[in-house]
């Protein structure tokens, strides 16, 4: 029966890890990885492959691990995935490849994500650390705007296809949401730096502090000789609840709260200059991965009480199960079927409470989830000193607003066809800037798709 269960991955103990920002999961040893890999049945055709947005040969790399050929495993991963150490950590395998694994029918599926992470981390510890640039570098230049998962992937694939790629990033460090959004305890910044270094070694140039749309318009870029442009400028304009008191001090968007800590290192204030409020009673509104990331950051900043406030029930929470479990282990409480209706402030304009109403679930709504309905007369007040609003965001408005001929939806997302092409010849887009609220791996899928389409477009000349 042992075979039905996956090999456990060592983790930091909850009481330890809430005191630091280091990674929670510590990764498999070589022996553990081989043992886990040996559970794979090597199905042909392999259903797991169908679930991978970037088309990794999963049984192939798992077999290499099982037989101890870690270098071959890594090369096989790299064929499809330029950021394996990142995907092995943050991709929701349990709803993609792993959910299609035959072993999952009778027990636990093969831990594909953990194995991917193992191989990538093993590569990092070896001499052959990086891939080498395509020797047949062409003269053709392409550009990528934004260095998040979509942009990095598009850039790496285009470099592998022999294009000269320049990435423009507006922040002072590359990585996009991987840098400012995902906390170090899920994805260490060292790993991110390493993966980005790997992409640079493919010949990709990264220019930070560059505001495309303003310092260069898309037309300027074409005039400079770039033959195609991939836009991966990501998320922007965080959504708020539009309820009274939302601009009180102590209320953050998740983007602001996480950016202060992840990008600006506010948890190391005053050694670092950017501050963040260290609340005692923190609530995070929403139940996606971002909400759980924020809750776990708040816990590590020393909050005594951290709650997730969510208007539906546990079943509808969009976050990864693993994140929910980790958060619970760390003492994060979850208040379900609760909708904030008003924030209360003190005389200095700081949030001190949140009035909520209890909800019940009605009939399914357009998302297929049961619609939450308020229970009359059930209002109550929660005492809080810090609130993080994590209910999603729109696309970043900057580039579209300075590119008048780019078609956008009413919400400002850039419209693309099935190849990621916009109606402007040579301009492609992917990630959070196009409709659909993709995950990291979906955004990478967009980057891959666009790289292929750009290659076709340029070959047609």
């Amino acid at each position: 029966m042992r075979k039905n269960l996956r090999v456990r991955m060592p983790r930091q103990r909850p009481e330890e890890r809430i005191k630091n920002f280091a990674e929670v999961a510590l990764g498999y040893s070589a022996e553990e990885a081989k043992e886990e890999a040996s559970r794979c049945l090597g199905c042909s055709p392999a259903p797991c492959k169908e679930g991978c947005p970037v088309g990794i040969d999963i049984p192939g790399f798992v077999l290499h691990i099982k037989e101890g050929r870690f270098d071959s495993a890594l090369n096989l991963l790299w064929e499809k995935n330029n950021l394996p150490a990142i995907c092995g950590r943050v991709c929701p395998q349990e709803t993609r490849c792993e959910t299609l694994c035959i072993l999952g029918k009778k027990g636990e599926p093969v831990a594909i994500g953990r194995l991917e992470r193992f191989v990538a981390d093993w590569g990092r510890s070896q001499d052959f650390k990086f891939r080498t640039p395509n020797p047949e570098l062409r003269t053709m230049k392409v550009t990528v705007v934004g260095s998040g998962p979509a942009g990095l992937t598009a850039a790496a694939d285009l470099a592998n296809l022999g294009y000269r790629v320049t990435i423009f990033e507006s922040l002072h460090l590359p990585g996009g949401v991987l840098r400012y959004g995902i906390p170090g305890f899920r994805l260490s910044k060292r790993i991110l730096d390493f993966e980005i270094e790997g992409i640079k070694r493919l010949g990709v140039e990264i220019r930070t502090n560059m505001l495309i749309g303003k310092v260069f318009t898309l037309e300027d870029l074409f005039e400079q000789g770039y033959k195609a442009i991939f836009i991966g400028t990501g998320a922007g304009l965080p959504r708020f609840l539009s309820i009274p008191g939302e601009n009180l001090a102590g209320i953050y968007s998740a983007n602001e709260f996480l950016t202060r800590v992840n990008l600006m290192e506010a948890h190391r204030f005053p050694e670092y200059d950017t501050p963040v409020r260290r609340g005692k009673k923190v609530t995070v509104i929403g139940a996606g991965n971002v909400a759980f990331d924020a809750a776990r950051v708040a816990r590590r900043l020393g909050a005594e009480e951290v709650t997730i406030t969510y208007r539906r029930s546990e079943q509808e929470m969009p976050a990864r199960r693993e994140e929910i479990e980790h958060a619970k282990e760390e003492g994060v409480k979850i208040k379900l079927l609760t909708l904030p209706i008003r924030f209360l402030g003190d005389e200095r304009g700081w949030v001190k409470g949140m009035e909520c109403t209890r909800m019940r679930l009605g009939k399914p709504d357009e998302s297929g989830r049961r619609r939450p309905l308020p229970i009359e007369g059930s209002q109550f007040i929660m005492e809080v000193d810090t609130v993080v609003v994590a209910i999603g965001q729109g696309p970043n408005p900057l580039l579209p607003s300075y590119t008048p001929n780019l078609e956008t939806t009413s919400k400002g997302h850039i419209l693309v066809d099935k190849d990621g092409a916009t109606p402007i010849p040579g301009v492609f887009a992917g990630g959070d800037i196009i409709p659909g609220e993709p995950t990291v791996i979906d955004a990478m899928g967009h980057g891959k798709r666009a790289a292929r389409a750009i290659d076709r477009y340029l070959r047609q000349g």
Partner: protein
Amino acid sequence: MYRIVTKKRLAPEITLFQIKAPLIARKALPGQFVILRIDEQGERIPLTIYEADGAQGRITIIFQEVGKTTKKLSTLKVGDSLPDLLGPLGKPTSIEKYGEVLAIGGGIGIIPLVPIARALKEAGNRITTILGARTRDLIILEKEMKDLSREIYITTDDGSYGEEGLVTDALKELIAQKKRMDQVLAIGPLIMMKKVCEITKREKIPTMVSLNTIMVDGTGMCGSCRVRVGEENRFVCVHGPEFPGELVDFDELLAREKRFEREERIALERYEEELKGENAQAEARGED
């Protein structure tokens, strides 16, 4: 890296830098700003682009020492570089022909006032100016504004220069004289802009204000700079920095802008301690 090519003291704690930033200089327009960082540990702070010289590839910023970052910034010398400079951010001022424009600048609010007033003048508007500050030394760029204005009024809180009083006193005076004002432009401390807008709202004179709020990314991603404008929540970084003053919820913004007061004090005190330590060491080594 962005090299400082000119440094000038305009007042005891107010410094002007020209910085080599050709890409930004080429595209910057009046009303826009940059975000900079001074080192690896630094925060991202927004500062108005005072002047942009596309031909020379330089931008000019002017800043007052108000906290750790601006104090540390003021210690940089010609030849030093900033690692990070992003811009031009924000929407440029919409320059229209209003007719008679009253430009009101308080303290370092005079800095963004100059380029906007200049553009308005070039568009055929006639400019009358009120400048105010705590004390004489802090009335900066007076000559620049004088050159743009048909009339100029100066107020200081302590009466050390111009009339003793506030810019709002001068504003009330002009209103009492039935001075024609088709548009007011008011830039300064939040409390000043609030008071100006209370008066001009009553008099039904359209008033534009320029806000400088706490920001992180500056590209519309984080919402730190959000402000209630009428019924809407707007982001100063991408929807602003200019808004119709009569619609801005200044009370909310006043509270929001104080939200890191404690941390700002800690950072500043710690920095000043550090400086003292360095000075003491220098003294011990027999340097000045």
